[in-house]
Subunit: 407 residues, 4 copies
Amino acid sequence: MSTFGNYFRVTTAGESHGKTVACIIENCPPGLSLVESDIQPQLNRRRPGQSAISTPRDEKDRVTIGSGCEFGRTLGTPILLTVPNEDQRPHDYGSKTIDLYPRPSHADWTYLEKYGTKASSGGGRSSARETIARVAAGAVAEKWLREAYGVEIVAFVSSVGNIKLFEDRPSTDSDDIDSLSSNPKFLELVDSLTREKVDEFLPVRCPDTAVAKRMEDKIAELRDQHDSTGGTVTCIIRGCPSGLGEPCFDKLEALLAHAMMSIPATKGFEIGSGFRGAEMRGSRHNDPFVSTAAADDATPSSGAGIPPSRLQTKTNHSGGIQGGISNGMPIFFRVAFKPPATISQEQTTARYDASGEGILAAKGRHDPNVTPRAVPIVEAMAALTIADALMAQHARQMGMKIAAARR
Amino acid sequence: MSTFGNYFRVTTAGESHGKTVACIIENCPPGLSLVESDIQPQLNRRRPGQSAISTPRDEKDRVTIGSGCEFGRTLGTPILLTVPNEDQRPHDYGSKTIDLYPRPSHADWTYLEKYGTKASSGGGRSSARETIARVAAGAVAEKWLREAYGVEIVAFVSSVGNIKLFEDRPSTDSDDIDSLSSNPKFLELVDSLTREKVDEFLPVRCPDTAVAKRMEDKIAELRDQHDSTGGTVTCIIRGCPSGLGEPCFDKLEALLAHAMMSIPATKGFEIGSGFRGAEMRGSRHNDPFVSTAAADDATPSSGAGIPPSRLQTKTNHSGGIQGGISNGMPIFFRVAFKPPATISQEQTTARYDASGEGILAAKGRHDPNVTPRAVPIVEAMAALTIADALMAQHARQMGMKIAAARR
Amino acid sequence: MSTFGNYFRVTTAGESHGKTVACIIENCPPGLSLVESDIQPQLNRRRPGQSAISTPRDEKDRVTIGSGCEFGRTLGTPILLTVPNEDQRPHDYGSKTIDLYPRPSHADWTYLEKYGTKASSGGGRSSARETIARVAAGAVAEKWLREAYGVEIVAFVSSVGNIKLFEDRPSTDSDDIDSLSSNPKFLELVDSLTREKVDEFLPVRCPDTAVAKRMEDKIAELRDQHDSTGGTVTCIIRGCPSGLGEPCFDKLEALLAHAMMSIPATKGFEIGSGFRGAEMRGSRHNDPFVSTAAADDATPSSGAGIPPSRLQTKTNHSGGIQGGISNGMPIFFRVAFKPPATISQEQTTARYDASGEGILAAKGRHDPNVTPRAVPIVEAMAALTIADALMAQHARQMGMKIAAARR
Amino acid sequence: MSTFGNYFRVTTAGESHGKTVACIIENCPPGLSLVESDIQPQLNRRRPGQSAISTPRDEKDRVTIGSGCEFGRTLGTPILLTVPNEDQRPHDYGSKTIDLYPRPSHADWTYLEKYGTKASSGGGRSSARETIARVAAGAVAEKWLREAYGVEIVAFVSSVGNIKLFEDRPSTDSDDIDSLSSNPKFLELVDSLTREKVDEFLPVRCPDTAVAKRMEDKIAELRDQHDSTGGTVTCIIRGCPSGLGEPCFDKLEALLAHAMMSIPATKGFEIGSGFRGAEMRGSRHNDPFVSTAAADDATPSSGAGIPPSRLQTKTNHSGGIQGGISNGMPIFFRVAFKPPATISQEQTTARYDASGEGILAAKGRHDPNVTPRAVPIVEAMAALTIADALMAQHARQMGMKIAAARR
């Protein structure tokens, strides 16, 4: 489906060669201050052409609010956001190699298998332009979350190829081993990292000067080799109210995993201690509770209007979610992105009609690594997930409050 | 929500101390042969008490079909499956430490934050008994998938703590490095592993005698230390028709991630090359197409009634899904489980009322590792995901066929 | 689907010849006091055998709460309600006429067309026993609505055949003509009718001694003729908070219409002035606003915790809903039920295999009129609709409040 | 919600004073020929200004396909349709009476109660412009239904005020009485009425010259009196395949009722015999089956690719739906529309702030009757309902076929 969410619900449309990329947001709370300039910055962060190592196409991507707002405030009715496609000519079918060969690890082949028809762009909605609608909708969700609850969502590039911001340490199950959730350098980012800080590390958006430099060199090297590489993006959500997530099937980590794995090119998701947590022993992995009042630092989840939980945890291997429900601690997770499939070197592959093999060569310049541009997309999907989970919990809470008031 | 799927749709109910665990399956195709003994075997595989290293409670868990079937065939109407809880007495609230302290990394605290009420069992639906309903529903889904399409779903334990069936090899991005998707030992399992084979390796369900022995010893060691450990489960889906998955938000890997991350105690999900794929270069990660007819071995996806795709891929870093849509190749993914939170050693933690800290000691015997029992749960959720995606695609396909017939 | 609602969500299962009729209620607010005896009375009101003019079968229909409650309070987790079928033997297929002929105006034929399979009972889920699950779920919804908001839902039989509690008056568009919404006798019922009062008029549940007597005689007459007749049920909802309904597609009247037309044997739905309203002129049909404080009588919608609207309307042709949203005035609507298709006289009809015509004779005793037993079913569906709409509005409201608090 | 349907799914956006009215259609089958001129005619039929008796505003309403199509064919991806608002200036808040008084029987008041905010247009999405998106989406649905299945949907005005195309005959339950479903004049329309024929009776779209003239005069008379009147629209669906509708809650008549009662200004819905059917006796209301082959006339439901049912019914009091499932006979239903609330005469009503009463006078010219323009809206909602139900059934059918093929 092209609909995400049940309460704060987004429906998107648009592919490379149509006129418009668009989304409709249903159930955004009324009375929220909202103008185009609240949305445009995240679209700009997503845009290609932000540096020498990303694709030089300049897509512009100006957003227009078509409905649901008046005098700079949301009405509570569906919000239409549109972004025109500048280059919308579908190419003519012809003898080009791209019409003869499905591109390896692209969606060309599976879209044909699924829909029985072939779009100019091959994989139709697998086009990266689809993500414009996510980012636009996400910017609205996070405006509400920030203004009403003080939620902050910040993502950054945590690895490019085998260059990692946080090196794995060999797991021996002894006391000097631990997951990311115990790494002091990471915990500092959890506390304080901002988007402004992340963008100081453009073009790679990895918040460490030395590591970012190595990543940049690596990407440049692959670009020169007409090759590509993958990477990971880590995302932090601060100030998320406790109580979000709808067990048993819509646990908050399940919703986040769904959201993240729906982003093109993702191959993995982990929350809190993640795959490394699977190697730990329970006595170390368990997060003991402490009184929030007694905690040294300020309460981590002081959402406006939502009183902070009276307990928090000493450690946070849980990644802010226990039993599928947010506990008020910072939420963090990591998403793996594969190397872009489009590379400008020749690849041997089969023809659409299975009549034989041949050589496919992609032309033009392509992103050798998508993770820096994926940062605002991950943030957007996180915002949509939390906004939706908040409304689900609100539906329950208000009924509980009214019932309690009457008893 | 306690509902999974949009077409092949399952709703579950039940927690530790109620009378019944149950599910209702909507839209199961009519005419499918179905009796209780089709479902019971997977419930038995899930049951505790299968060996010395799992919890010795004997829960029995006999399933009854309450509606939707007649004379051993499905009617197309909702199927009710119920499993009684044998020990259903909710305990009295009192002065027990479990009533004073939320158990660390359990759902006790977050359920209270979410629902404002405390069940006897603490975390209500976070109880492992909830998974009975998943396994029962999944057994119905996979019966349909197997009989109508020849789909085979097999999961196994791929690691326990830091003992791994497939060791990571250091990533240097040179040619001798690769993800699991290129490991010949793994590829052999992809081709041929069966549930019967997996169960030969009870109690740990890791299909390698030597590794399984080490895992068993490890679990026993932790049990003796009143501690626990995590692990990973890997799942293979053979014979899945191409064309499944509903971009852009319901890509097949997103649906699988949602399904898996909804299982209690999961911390991570990866598909195909996964996190390791993020370290590869595109020229190696891309999966070239080859003609299915020309491929050496038999077509991998010969679903009955669904003709196999005329192309397949040489390698399978994609894990059977490209652009969010199945391509007919085997699907495989890996799920991380944290160490069980319940350990029978003392833990220092805070009181519910934040009035101070104290010592919580869990009594009784508990599973020091959940992965062997998680195997049928992972299989069940995989079956539910594929069945739902199949029906979504069928809704589209039949309309396409009829329209084409008329042109 | 067998699922109703998006927030307060009910999934049902069960047909005539299975073991069990059941429902699972998701998202019922936690902390609600709930035991079986809260549910049983409505099931008893629905039960056949309450009088000489309804079918003498005694079905009993004892409900059990299988999950989601503890110590008499809801946990917020899914509530399982089950009612056993006493006579659950599916009949053997054989040479009976019922196996050769689809019963006219029954669901036998369409179920076969849809599902390709034939249940013993013919129309599978079209069995009246399916409505047990609705009534059980509705009883839970209305308990919440009554306790938390003071909502009262009362339905009654407003016509049987051509015997009407409120006679149509010829429409001449002059001032002495009007819809039911201006009938003083009806308005008195709107203000004060209770279920206890309705049940004083058993067996027909029409709150007028003389009319009820005529109806009873009419039904007896048709029973003696081995025939049947239809009728209408009118339902009143008092104390419904304003603001419910989700335009544009889920207007409150659209949700109510959906709910009512999903009840077996319904042929029509009208809200407020209804079909008669279509004959009125706008200047008379419009409902002028008046200050609630200035109104003579007490505020009609004093839901607990929900402050009453500061405006109400002088007349109520709108039936309590304007622009698809409740306005705090009483909601009322009318539902048409066709004459029961099962009659114990011979009918000429065609064979399943279209091989020819023949005579079908239903045996046994059947309800010659379903409206008295439909009363609790209509009430149940009304309760489920309002509960769901309330939660939808709560999801929005709480976000609005929190946002406003922060500004 | 502003989303309709689960499979063929439409999401709409737009109100009077925004820039754009839009819809996104998900899951429209790929390969359908589709250009703007397939959609525009129904938008033109909906447009005001088609005659002296409707509002003279010329809104134009040109539709653009923004995504989901290429080279005149659908891709299977979301289809974006946009229609610009020509006059999109929201008015300034000020001292106008419309800012002081909620208009009687408009949505001004309830939108304020629900959303806590006031749009320029008062009732936000209750604006008639919202229906543009329905009509556009419906045109796509019916193109698919017509081309692939031969489904024909035709609506017409069946009454204006108390002027009725088919007069009620007094119900005495004797043999000369019957519902519309037995009226030969109506049955002829069921067989043969076309949209072209209906439009010959513009401006009122009632297919009877004499009655249409009386209706036109009536509307003109009310216009001159600055008043308005209601009416009914009847809709016929021919060639609908059997087997559609998803019991128990999504019976086909329930879905149609939901769809129709979501149209602004509707007050009632009835299917087949409707409210009149409630007055009939079962022996006359039951529709006996006959062999389709033996029937005099051609099979009524010869959907392309869908073989016609081998049985049909002699009479059709059921209105083409039995047990909530289409039986292949023509479907017909009737929808009641209230008199438009906007009238250009003075009305006494209360102020928003309940501070007192006053006189509200609407200015300008308004539609004294909406039924002629409602005709394409009813058709659109019928098409969306049937398309969605078809895909639901296809999802089931294809699984059944594949399963059967393998047995």
